[in-house]
């Protein structure tokens, strides 16, 4: 996981661009839509993400089998067939169904984790950047200490201590990403707090919180949205890696990384069990990456 450096790059790229460079014509959604459709890369990315979201949402209706339904009779020949389009796994569970239901897990845990990080990061970053002084020093110091841990090591020690659960994974990702988001937000805040419209807000007597959240924050959404999607991608990988290392989400509910982990000893004979969930992870990451890259390019182009 190169996340530390991903993050660093993301924050550099983010702060290099798009601060207050945009605004909405038709509300934020319309804006996103228009930006997304403007960039082919973003369109591809958004399509992939949306497809997975839809599948996840409609899982009970579109998945051909219950995800945990075991049929040991199928284990002898788990290859794709007319009944099981993507084959079954080593317990005879339908891979397609597990993928679809697994999308639910991935698409809840990863976004919640990232959102948690974003929310905490936004709060600390705004406070740090806008208030400055001791608050800034303390927040940044604590953040630096957290960042000094290589992420995977942080995951490992925390999960080794508290065990693997969706909650712990979310907590640990939130904890390790929030300082970086705080840095991005702080950078943007330092820039924006000297803008004239903030001065104007002060001159009419807005409270500090109002200024932070209403005047400053919306203008940081460009970098934050880009960062969100990049981070979503890498969080998906991180969850996969944890699953692969055997400290991921607990079974039996399908989790893509866990599916790879469970089956990769059989890659030599039944590669589909490993490759299909791997491709699912990659596709989601690629989707998020493309969307982020496309959004950034679109924003840079104005």
């Amino acid at each position: 996981m190169t996340e530390i450096s991903h993050d660093l790059a993301a924050s550099r790229l983010a702060s290099a661009s798009l601060v207050g460079a945009e605004a909405a014509d038709a509300g934020p959604l319309g804006k996103v839509y228009s930006v997304v459709t403007r960039s082919p890369l973003a369109t591809v990315g958004a399509t992939i993400l949306l497809t997975w979201c839809l599948l996840a949402l409609l899982a009970p209706w579109v998945a051909p089998y219950p995800p945990n339904q075991i049929d040991v009779a199928l284990v002898a020949d788990p290859h794709p067939s007319a009944q099981h389009w993507l084959g079954v796994d080593h317990l005879g569970r339908d891979i397609l169904s597990r993928l679809i239901w697994g999308a639910r897990t991935v698409l809840t845990v990863a976004p919640i984790a990232v959102l948690g990080a974003v929310m905490l990061g936004i709060f600390l970053g705004l406070l740090s950047g806008y208030r400055g002084g001791m608050i800034d020093v303390v927040i940044m110091r604590v953040g630096d200490t957290l960042l000094a841990f290589p992420k995977i090591i942080l995951y490992l020690i925390i999960i080794a201590k508290f065990g693997a659960s969706a909650f712990n994974i979310i907590a640990v990702i939130t904890l390790s990403s929030a300082p970086i988001i705080a840095r991005i937000v702080r950078g943007v805040t330092l820039d924006i707090k000297n803008r004239d419209y903030v001065a104007a807000a002060r001159m009419r007597g807005e409270s500090a919180f109002f200024i932070m959240f209403v005047e400053i924050l919306p203008n940081a959404r460009g970098p934050l949205i880009v960062d969100f999607f990049l981070r979503l991608g890498y969080t998906t990988i991180a969850i996969g890696v944890l699953g692969f290392l055997g400290v991921g989400l607990p079974p039996p509910d399908p989790d893509w990384g866990g599916m790879v982990k469970e089956a990769y000893g059989m890659i030599f004979v039944w590669p589909h069990m490993t490759i299909i969930p791997s491709l699912a992870i990659s596709s989601l990451v690629i989707g998020a990456n493309f969307l982020a890259t496309g959004l950034r390019e679109a924003a840079l182009d104005g």
Partner: protein
């Protein structure tokens, strides 16, 4: 006279997914050997595109759709990449607006200079080095050899621009293209650069294409001018002809919108051009200016292409107008009507500043050890009066904004007083001021791009202060928003727009409306129009003038533009290095006796006048605000410095009634040389047809 650069019916288009867009349309001109053509026009009209086309270097997506561009007789479009490389930097060279970003930040400037000869035939490094040093000396950079080792960021803006000019001149090109080479520089530095260009031109006989949005600077450098509007050249001719007897309504409008040093006070309004330029204007079949033109006739102007016609073949005065006769016969071009400045020193003082100082403490990057302090403002005394304008002028960094921010409470003073209604506010940040005091002082900011929050609508920008400062309920606030919009002449549907959907001028109007929302007693405006085009600027200034008259508002107006100050101010304070060196009623400040600095400023100010006298260039630049100044702050640059006195002893304040000058010189009316226009020289009015 041999032709160096020729544009022949050049059209350039930009292709994007949204379709094709005309950027330049049928542009033709010729620049001969040793000749200088100035190209003016408002932002976005295509000036830079002309420059880049002359280098055969168009941005991605732009292409030459029609016409030819010749350099020394060779069609650029037919040259191979190699041939182009040989011409660029050798026969044609270019200087850009922003010198800092035109220089490679990680390469010493010496290297960057030497590359020019080394790329064009020179093989000997030593020789290239010598030539670079020689050229640096030529552009009057001190200690040229030592300069060679420096990185761009180690030079001041003026020095950087000199380096860029030196780089362009290294190969002694036949054609020098300068795209807004002085925008962003201080008046005094600008004056020096313009003088330099003139000298170099005389010396090397280089043909020059000089691009600027400022008619004044063009007048200083060029003998011919071209006026560009929406990608079309609308008028060309010699400076004298065009300035004295402009024909095209747009040219006339531009000249009319300009405040002049010689011009009158704001009570005589400026004349902005009606309407604004629209993107669609570039695609018009007929005259692009027609929608804004009072002479426009449907058939002549809109339904067929309008061509350039010669008015005065000898003077090469060409105009693209279908209604020349009507225009010439119609109203004459007029500057703003002169009217006496009637400074009212009886007007009540709403805000007074006494002995105000501000130091910025510099801390090293990691906190802790101090690296000294910037004395941004030192011992300033001023008064703002109801219904009057107090203007503050001075070069960049002299502390104008700092002063403004202290008054408005965005900064707190180190010492001194800012008294509003008898209460001292100097040490109270705006966040801690009582709501009523907060309401009484409002501010208009310089940059239309950052004055409004891009994330919130116009209605939001106006509603919030109404709710907070005047406690209006949301229904009342809504009505009041509409009233405010109307007050600044904006249609009510603007309320729902987002800032990026407004032009710069419109945004600035919203900013003014926002400042007025709380019924303030004092409005501080920090360079409110300096980022706007002339015509828009004129409209805003008129608006401010009107508002001043309607209300008993005290306006503190900050500007570096003397002509503007002349137009707007009732009271003027001239600042230098954080101190007020001259203060008084506008009329008195703009007529002798002068502080030597005021005088230098007046002389340096570019004026659109072909007959303006050569400027006196101030040597050097402002001392660093961290230095300790014993004597007069201006001593280091003052042409009339008295050695041994000025640099050791603080100057006394000499008073002429309300007019104060802080100077050692015995000041009397005789000794003070009258500045260009204020001295009552022949202005445009007298010479126009």
């Amino acid at each position: 006279m041999a032709e160096v650069l020729a544009f022949e019916h050049v059209s350039i288009a930009y292709d994007s997914r949204a379709g094709r867009q005309n950027i330049l349309n049928d542009v033709s001109f010729v620049i001969g050997e040793g000749e200088a053509l100035g190209l003016v026009g408002e932002s976005g009209c295509g000036k830079s595109t002309v420059a880049l086309a002359a280098m055969h270097y168009l941005p991605r997506g732009m292409s030459l759709t029609e016409g030819r561009i010749r350099v020394e007789g060779r069609d650029l479009a037919r040259l191979s990449a190699d041939e182009l490389s040989r011409i660029r930097g050798n026969r044609i060279a270019m200087v850009y607006q922003d010198p800092m970003s035109s220089l490679n930040p990680v390469m010493p400037i010496g290297r960057q200079l030497m590359e020019v000869p080394l790329l064009h035939g020179e093989t000997d490094e030593r020789a290239a080095f010598r030539r670079a040093v020689a050229m640096l000396e030529e552009v009057r950079l001190p200690a040229a050899e030592a300069m060679m080792e420096r990185y761009p960021h180690q030079l001041s803006g003026g020095q950087q621009q000199r380096v860029v000019i030196a780089m362009a001149l290294m190969a002694e090109p036949a054609l020098l293209i300068m795209d807004e080479p002085t925008t962003g520089l201080d008046v005094t530095i600008e004056a020096a650069i313009l003088a330099l260009v003139r000298d170099l031109r005389a010396k090397f006989g280089t043909a020059i294409l000089f691009i600027s949005h400022n008619l004044g600077t063009v007048a200083r450098v060029c003998e011919r001018i071209g006026v560009l509007y929406a990608g079309r050249l609308v008028e060309t001719g010699s400076i004298a002809t065009v300035f004295r007897s402009p024909v095209h309504p747009y040219t006339r409008g531009l000249l009319g919108a300009l405040p002049r040093l010689s011009g009158g006070h704001r009570r005589g309004r400026l004349r902005p051009i009606d309407g604004t330029i629209q993107a669609a204007d570039r695609a018009r079949l007929g005259c692009a200016f027609a929608p804004r033109c009072s002479f426009a006739a449907r058939r002549d102007c809109e339904e067929r292409p309008v061509v350039m016609v010669a008015i005065d073949a000898a003077a090469q005065h060409l105009v693209r107008c279908a209604r020349i006769d009507a225009v010439v016969a119609g109203s004459a071009v007029d500057g703003p009507p002169a009217s006496a400045t009637a400074t009212n020193d009886q007007a009540p003082i709403v805000l007074s500043v006494r002995n105000l100082s501000k130091e910025y403490r510099l801390t090293s990057l990691f906190g802790g050890d101090r690296k000294g302090a910037v004395r941004a403002v030192t011992g300033v005394d001023l008064d703002a009066r109801a219904g009057e304008t107090l203007a503050i002028v001075g070069e960049s960094g002299c502390g104008k904004s700092t002063l403004a921010r202290i008054i408005s409470g965005l900064l707190t003073a180190t010492s001194g007083e800012v008294t509003l209604d008898g209460v001292d506010l100097a040490g109270i940040s705006v966040d801690d001021r009582p709501p009523d005091t907060r309401r009484r002082i409002q501010m208009v900011f310089q940059n239309p791009d950052s004055t409004l929050n891009p994330s919130h609508s116009i209605a939001y920008a106006l509603t919030r202060p109404l709710r907070l400062l005047r406690d209006l309920a949301s229904g009342e606030a809504k009505a009041e928003v509409l009233r405010l919009l109307a007050q600044v002449r904006l249609p009510s549907e603007m309320a729902d727009r987002m800032p990026h959907q407004l032009s710069g001028g419109q945004r600035q109007r919203v900013a003014i409306a926002r400042a007025l929302a709380g019924n303030p007693g004092v409005v501080v405006a920090d360079e409110p129009v300096s980022a706007l085009d002339v015509s828009v600027q004129a409209a805003i200034l008129n608006l401010l003038g009107e508002l001043l008259e309607q209300s008993q508002l005290g306006l503190v107006l900050i500007s570096h533009d003397l002509a503007l100050v002349r137009h707007m101010a009732d009271w003027v304070a001239v600042m230098y290095l954080g101190r007020v060196v001259e203060y008084g009623p506008a009329d008195q400040v703009f007529s002798p006796p002068y502080h030597p600095y005021t005088q230098a400023l007046l002389l340096a100010a570019p004026t659109p006048d072909p007959d303006a006298p050569p400027v006196v260039v101030l040597e050097g630049s402002m001392p660093s605000p961290t230095d300790t100044i014993l004597g007069c702050p201006f001593a280091s640059r003052c042409p009339e410095r008295i050695a041994g006195l000025c640099d050791t002893t603080p100057p006394p304040i000499r008073r002429f009634g309300e007019h104060r000058i802080s100077c050692h010189l015995e000041i009397d009316a005789e000794r003070a040389q009258p500045p260009a226009e204020a001295g009552g020289r022949t202005g445009m009015r007298s010479s126009s047809a």
